[in-house]
Amino acid sequence: MLRYAANRIALLVPLVIGLSLVLFIYIQLIPGDPVAGMLGPTADPALVARIRHELGLDQPILVQYLHWVQGLSRGDLGISFSSRFPITPILIARIPATLQLTMTGMLVVILIGAPFGFIAGLFKDTWIDRLLSIGALVGLSSPIFWLGTVMILVFAVQLRWLPSLGYVAFMDDPLASIRFSILPSITLGLALAPYLARMTRAATIEVQQEQFVALAHAKGLKRATIIARYSARNAVLPIVIVLGLQLGRLLGGQVIVEVLFAWPGVGRLLIGGVIERDYFMVQAVVLIFAVIYVILNLLAEMIHGWLDPRIRFT
């Protein structure tokens, strides 16, 4: 198991290199010059040229790429266009808040999505299933900021139960930190739970049709035994993998939630970068999100392997 993990982590290195290349290609493929874009159409061409030179953008593409990768290998993500500060320390300061929200959001997704999807799957084609399925469809058709706005209005403005905006680091004050993270986490969770619920429903229905479930009934096992040890234990397997792949949506939704709730995470850094046309910053943040995605997927894969005895770690 440890060796398997080590192997998989070693495979991350080429993946990150691939990612950096992909990001780089994206930027090269897209028309427009980032410096000109940042300074606006009225900028002095001499100034544009000078900044391009300072940032090394006048060098051949390959040199630019190698330069960037060289920096990456030292943990250097480059220099922010707009603030002229190194990006790495800025990002590192923001990562804990982002990871906290990712984790709590994921927790809400699992706590809401998995049980409802499982129940819908068990009671396929009954009114319970129809109700839950329609609810899930409406949920995944609602814009996430819309959902968040409603949450703020109801729980912060009207009921005054929870703070609407802001963030407290967990290390500073765990209780306050949790209070501040409840609304963002629930918003993120509610928006993404319908996806998991739909996957769980489909996986449950699939498992219910397996022969071992029919045989469990033929053995006269208790309903509780069959649901827990047969249906749930086996439906979890595909769900873990799909959950990993769904993380992309979670991370995308996270950016919106961070902006909506003034959550000082990496996502807001990204939006700042986008609005200020700070393209090194955008590149760096997208890379960080992609790495988070890849690592969490690896985690999902290992959980899957641990849950499924048929998978050998070699």
């Binding site: 897209i30 469809l137 409406v138 992309g248 995308g252 970068g273 997208v286 995605y293």
Partner: protein, 281 residues
């Protein structure tokens, strides 16, 4: 096989009927926007700034006194156009290479799959954001950004559909009889892949409309004075405490459109491709 798409079973599927009605409503609204909107969408009336819902302006008026309902109806054009064109462009960008990779198989397919995996590691919304950071937001660039962001997903789905269609016996037979690659792709592969493409595209239009709204919220959507649902929602949010009714219309419109395409996509999936849930990424 798309020729045998059974409209009756689509309509008999409750989701299908509801989806068709919603989608038809949204499409008609977009096409006939000029004719059915009660006022020109940009007509200002500074006397009725932030007027609440009232007779003649059932969704109220905005900061320039423009009729919100008319702006929502007008916004349907941009939102639907962005949603549909993003999916079409994305399908071409992702689907064409996937068609060849899946068909050729072997090393080409392997390399293609690895590359798509890498692209997939970047969440779609972030890809779109990054692109818009470079090219600046406007209707067409939003569509392009969403298209590029979705292309890897489409590529993955189409590649797996093609490679499973390829191994089917009759394709082999047709190659054996000396049919050209192009001919096999057009006559054997495409008809098998089309149902999956249609299912995928229908659901993807729903995501695209939603992501247009998301990008609008993040400030990189369609820019004023043009209206899309995304831009209406962000405008509405700025004056949330003065005029909380402003975003209601656009929010409902997004919900109806996205729900419609999702319902239709689900129903098409049931009718055309029962096991496709596994392919949903």
């Amino acid at each position: 096989m798309i020729r045998s798409l059974d409209w009756r079973s689509l309509v008999r599927n409750g989701n299908g009927t509801a989806g068709l009605i919603f989608v038809a409503g949204v499409v008609l609204t977009a096409v006939l926007a000029g004719a059915i909107a009660p006022y020109p969408p940009t007509m200002m009336n500074l006397e009725s700034t932030f007027a609440g819902p009232e007779f003649g302006h059932i969704l109220g008026s905005d900061e320039f006194g423009r009729d919100v309902l008319s702006r929502v109806i007008d916004g349907a054009r941009a939102s639907l156009a962005i949603g549909v064109s993003a999916v079409v462009i994305g399908m071409v960008l992702g689907g064409l290479p996937a068609l060849f990779a899946g068909y050729l198989g072997g090393v080409v397919d392997l390399i293609f799959t690895r590359i798509v995996d890498i692209f997939m590691a970047i969440p779609a919304l972030l890809v779109a954001l990054g692109i818009l950071a470079l090219v600046g937001p406007s209707g067409p660039t939003v569509a392009l950004a969403i298209a590029i962001a979705y292309a890897p997903t489409f590529a993955r789905v189409i590649r797996s559909a093609v490679s499973s269609a390829r191994v089917q016996a009759y394709v082999e037979a047709s190659v054996g009889m000396g049919a050209s690659t192009f001919r096999v792709l057009m006559t054997e592969i495409l008809p098998n892949v089309l149902p999956i493409v249609i299912v995928q595209a229908t659901s993807a239009i729903a995501w695209a409309i939603l992501d247009e709204a998301n990008l609008g919220f993040l400030g990189v959507g369609v820019q004023p004075p043009n209206a899309s649902w995304g831009s209406l929602l962000i405008e509405g949010r700025q004056y949330f405490f003065q005029a909380p009714w402003l975003p209601i219309g656009a929010g409902l419109a997004v919900l109806i459109a996205v729900l419609g395409f999702n319902l239709l996509g689900d129903a098409l999936r049931d009718v055309l491709d029962p096991r496709a849930w596994q392919r949903e990424i």
